[in-house]
Symmetry: C2
Subunit: 347 residues, 2 copies
């Protein structure tokens, strides 16, 4: 069996090839993706295994990538929990009704992962069949807190006022929602492993909407419980993205996963030394600024080399952007990054 | 002459009284502010010294505060530079036309601070006349980079795409805009000191929209030049807010100001030790989560005590929130915070 460079790097084992993939590598910056989206709504795309598999595979046809992440959204589990998920034109996701009280929480149910979210597993299986041996199939979910934020606000937010209101005024309901999401997320991730995922990623994009103290007491224990349970039951590496900046790294004591995904704002070398200071023996993923992909070829290559250099002391390093690729980015620039990474392996 | 506790704390000298004020202490959470706003647009309010002074003084009539910050907006200098500033209902500020090229930059002019922005000085003088001896009059401006971000985007942004485009595709125009804002901001702050400001604050709210490397090479030198020039010419302490998180603290070598304002997401004790590690001998301001002011009295008091405790090792500490007060917050909770701070002085 061929080893997969991404799995090796995630576990901190030596690799000849530097694994590389891109957050939101299947997306609107690709004309072939926009073509598919002409005829199908976003939620429908997630729910239709053949189409989800098709757009997942698009970037692998163009680029020499080491991993494929299943095309989906962190909010799909909210649908079988009891919320309607829509994506308005030019707006982000909307969830209805928002969960802003213990009474609203009581109406939610824990999904049956196989039955209610099986379409994600089906899509994953279809993609997996097309991958080369060295390529890793990544499953993912939102971390409990970040999904809870959306469920409470009903949408993205600048101030997260409803989230704070529930946390401060109905702390039991807030905790109850996190608990429900912990159980839901465990089942959801295990279902994805059963369908073929070789690796899992948990996105906690909004983690730093809480104070460091609340993160430590409420947010991190929830996601770490998910990670511990999944790791107990499946032998796959787990990547966790704790949001913008490094402030929360200091609250990660006892982290049960294998990799920390690093935001692009941070110097990767500093992130690595902070994680080391906290006593974590982990690999890192990241952290090119995705917006660099609008720059000229020499600038793109220079920034790529900077990231490679900053990663020097990592136990293992998975090259990636520090945030998802955006619609206006130049598809050709992705090749410049990959080529620069490949060059570094030969030197 | 009575000493002002906030000035003493800013310079790191001992104070009997812990200075306290609140970012955006004059604002929509106060019914008397909403009453004034019924009859006047935001920009008009900033431009009318009597009204600006009136709303600036409102929180001082309600609360036992150690400082008053002139009511204005970081974007008012953009008007005499050549942009129209509007605040649509429910939207943030909008600037027209946006500055997205060297050609657009060439049409901007450097304002005459006394002539074009004298209304800020007039309002400041009116407020100063009403302050008690122990109270500090704060003037402020946006840091060059943060104002540049708004001028380029024409509004707030989630992705700052136009900012990155200019920075990567027309780096000379980007640098030129920063240079123009450096000169504009120096004159603007000195005008405020001449009008009576005892202390100055520079807001770099969007600083972490840049990578740490760009912050170090482009953003920080611009704001530090402003600080150095102003400090050379005026004997007032200067507070700088470098945006969310502590990642950028490591790029602050040579900081010429007196105080760093700390975001609410960060543990204040860690911020203090990071600043110390970087070799900075500075005071800190902050950093209560403003959203705590929707919680019950015991929670508000507990969080206030936490901030006081975290500030323990600071050279000097000015109590504040870590971000501006928001419209939905409870005005009575401000008194709970102040009372808890006053209690701590007696223990």
């Amino acid at each position: 069996m061929t080893t997969k460079p991404m799995i090796e790097a995630a576990f901190g084992r030596p690799t000849k090839r530097k694994p590389i993939w891109f957050l939101r590598q299947a997306g609107r910056y690709l004309p072939e993706y926009r073509e598919v989206r002409k005829n199908v709504e976003f939620t429908e795309l997630c729910k239709t295994p053949k189409l989800a598999a098709e757009v997942t595979l698009q970037p692998l046809r163009r680029y020499d990538l080491d991993a494929s992440i299943i095309f989906s959204d962190i909010l799909v589990p909210c649908m079988p929990m009891g919320q309607e998920l829509t994506f308005g034109k030019g707006h982000g996701p909307q969830l209805n009704p928002p969960i802003q009280s213990g009474a609203a929480l009581a109406k939610l149910k824990k999904p049956d992962a196989e039955k209610d979210l099986g379409y994600v597993g089906e899509a994953l299986q279809l993609v997996k069949d097309q991958l080369q041996d060295h390529q890793t199939m990544i499953g993912f979910a939102g971390a409990p807190f970040t999904v809870a934020s959306y469920m409470i606000e009903g949408a993205g937010s600048k101030t997260y006022t409803e989230l704070k209101r529930l946390r401060y005024q109905e702390p039991e309901a807030f905790k109850g929602l996190l608990d429900l999401l912990v159980e839901t997320t465990i089942d959801y991730l295990i279902m994805q492993v059963n369908a073929g995922a070789d690796c899992l990623m948990l996105f906690d994009t909004w983690a730093n909407q809480m104070t460091a103290v609340d993160y430590k007491d409420l947010v991190f224990p929830a996601v770490n419980k998910v990670i511990r349970e999944v790791k107990d039951r499946c032998d796959v590496p787990l990547i966790y993205y704790p949001g913008q900046g490094t402030d929360l790294y200091f609250e990660l004591q006892g982290y049960a996963g294998d990799v920390i995904a690093v935001d692009w704002r941070t110097r990767l070398s500093r992130a690595i030394s902070f994680l080391d200071n906290v006593g974590l023996d982990v690999s890192v993923q990241g952290n090119l600024d995705p917006q660099v992909l609008i720059a000229s070829e020499d600038v793109v290559r220079e920034h790529t080399r900077q990231v490679l250099q900053e990663a020097g002391k990592a136990r293992g390093h998975i090259f990636n952007v520090g945030h998802g690729l955006q619609p206006h980015l130049n598809p050709e620039a992705v090749n410049w990054v990959i080529d620069e990474v490949r060059k570094s392996e030969k030197s």
